[in-house]
Symmetry: C7
Subunit: 76 residues, 7 copies
């Protein structure tokens, strides 16, 4: 049996809604469309949330991987 | 079917207006002219926006990728 | 006899509960599911703890390695 | 048709005056003499500007690329 | 005669107690079990010390190398 | 005609006095003895200057490149 | 004649006392025992100095290179 790799978890979340936490303290929610080994990530139907409140609708966004703390599938 | 890659999203936005958010808290708006794998990015007809207000007209600008948090197509 | 390598310690902790301390000062607890050489880490049944109090249930989370200070098996 | 690359924009600005914004908040103005893939940059006839005021004449300067936020041709 | 290399010093300290100082200002003490070229480090019987006071018993811990300032063998 | 490269400018300054500005806000002045592609730099007859005042005579110093903002030949 | 390289300066200082300045603002003094291309550095008979006062005797220490601002031979 082969050991799990972290990107497998992201791969299973493709097309599902995820929460992305940034080093700036903000949260971005959206449908995980794409990611790469740098954890550069694209969300569709994204919105920004600060302290649990939706602050902005952003549509599709490209997030540079090095600003990401964690990615959590909403139904994970 | 091949999985989407994050740079595909940027590629589709070439020539369209995008919002670039920087680690400094500023926003840069402009027409996406070019980017590379480091997310070094060139905008045409760029302007700087702070708290939703246009603060400077910048023309063409080269942005070093490591200062970028996210890139969002205006009509994405 | 071959010298131990740091990732061997993480490997032995797979499937067990670990505490992950982040550069932001937060702690994440959960079952270690996966990690890679960048220390990108996946926890199952994760929860966030601030000052010893559970502040959020997070389910499965992907943590970007460069935000991690240390990983400690709960029974290590 | 080949896609534009960000360094093409810098290349076209060689010999022209550019504004370089640093992560420290300062601006450096000068004639773009040279740059490389790390965005290490050399300006001739450089001057430092803080809040729009020229604060120092610096002559030729070598700027380490990782301190640069953006480079903007004055007539771009 | 071949010049010493920094990792030789860590290698000689394997199995002995060391003090690890982190960029966060904390100290971790424990028996040096393993390290790699990134200075990812594993301590056994680790404890956290703040201002000279033991604040937590941590057992075995994996420390990500980029958070480390220095490693000092207790009897070095 | 071949384009200038940034390190050519440093190379021409070898043996001459330069000002090195650090991310800490300090300035180091001295005779440029050596540098490499990481911009690790050696100055001879170096002195530290804070707010235009010489604060310390340092002799020969090795400066790690990633702490450098810019290098300016005194007669550049 | 071959140009000097920065590590040559460190190499000549092997076995001599050096001052190492850290990004944390502290100084470490000791006999330079070893270094590598990342500027990971080992000092023997090291002591910590804050504002010119010896605050701790540290014996042999391994310093991670990326925390170092500069290294200065005491008789350089």
């Amino acid at each position: 049996m082969e050991a799990d790799r972290p990107l497998d978890t992201l791969n299973k979340a493709r097309g599902s809604r995820v929460i992305v936490e940034l080093k700036t303290g903000k949260q971005l929610l959206g449908k995980l469309k794409a990611f790469d080994i740098h954890i550069n990530t694209v969300l569709d139907e994204a919105e920004e949330r600060v302290n649990g409140e939706t602050t902005r609708k952003l549509g599709t966004i490209f997030i540079r991987g090095d600003t990401i703390i964690l990615i959590s599938p909403e139904n994970g």
